[in-house]
């Protein structure tokens, strides 16, 4: 009895399978948002204790690279009005690698740099002493009315200067250096070798109150 039934065609019509799969595919294509956790990393300073006055760090004027952005998104770099941020990262690299008055450690650091970075050292006594901690600081000061976009553009350029120096030290391109994750010991060693002796000293000042809300 049952055998008789089994003789009827047993094949499922699979011709429309592709169409069904296509429909599902298109649905997922449309609804997909590939999560992107990309951005510019920043480490905020630790919170201030109201009982302890903020530490008074004395730095020579020549060791600070001042960038001011006002409420109209206009830039003042080292006291000079600048139209755009295109040359900013090159200026910062020159500032960082100036080696105006290096101490012993800084001389050792300088000797370890690749030739392309060594040639940037102008030895200008009016610019930074050395790029090690306590040496060169890049300061960004904004206004409460400055747009976030402009602030990020400036921060981006400062980061670019640092990453290009780091990458050059280990013989990578900046993109490759930033893609290092530090998961494997070899990658971690590369990251550390790039950073060694040149900490990212970016000071982001509290914006002042004019022209904002």
């Amino acid at each position: 009895m049952a055998k008789g039934k089994s003789r009827t065609s047993q094949e499922v019509n699979a011709g429309s399978m592709a169409d069904i799969a296509f429909l599902l595919l298109i649905f997922f294509l449309v609804t997909t948002t590939i999560a992107s956790d990309k951005g510019i990393q920043n480490l905020l300073p630790p919170k201030q204790d109201p009982n302890v006055p903020p530490p008074d760090i004395k730095l020579n004027e020549r060791n600070i690279f001042n960038i001011l952005v006002n409420a109209n998104d206009q830039l003042l770099v080292e006291g000079e009005y600048v139209d755009n941020t295109e040359l900013l990262s090159e200026d910062i690299k020159d500032f960082l690698l100036n080696f105006g008055a290096p101490d012993e450690d800084a001389v050792a650091l300088f000797n370890g740099l690749p030739q392309s970075l060594k040639s940037r050292a102008n030895r200008d006594s009016k610019s930074s002493d050395h790029p090690m901690s306590g040496g060169a600081v890049v300061s960004i000061k904004t206004n409460r009315g400055t747009s976030y976009e402009k602030y990020l553009e400036v921060l981006d350029q400062v980061k670019r200067a640092y990453f290009e120096i780091y990458a050059e030290r280990v013989g990578l391109t900046s993109d490759q250096y930033r893609a290092l994750t530090g998961k494997s010991p070899a990658e971690k060693a590369l990251i550390d070798r790039g950073k060694e002796g040149i900490p990212m000293a970016i000071s982001i000042a509290e914006p002042d109150k004019i022209g904002g809300n």
Partner: protein, 153 residues
Amino acid sequence: MGKFKKKTKTSENIPTSALPDIIFMLLFFFMVTTVLREQDILVEQKLPQATQLQKLEKKTLISYLFVGKPKNSNLYGTEPRVQANDVLINTKDIILWVNQEKDKLSEAERDQITISMKADRDVKMGPISDIQFELREADARKLLYASTGKVQN
């Protein structure tokens, strides 16, 4: 002329029997990579562009803050607001929110929490710096300015 005609006699059918399999493979790829939106975003989000992007590795450590002009300006006004999870919050409530987010993490990871700030490009620095001040107070110092890539020149 005659030479070319001979070729046309060969079979012209492309085998399409493997087509469903190929489509299925694509389908599975998209199904796996899809993250369905868990939350409605109540503020405008046009992320700024930058070149020096870095990727964050551990997604579990990331909490998101959305900053921008409310989409529904009749209800929430036109001033930039902060959205955490599903609701718009006041800047003062950020400390509370950070502590809630920290509670979700294990003891050891608590101080590694990273805040991904997805701020609209039209926001001014005033609100941003207020948020940063609150984050410092809440001791969540790792901050990521979420942005999209820009072609480098």
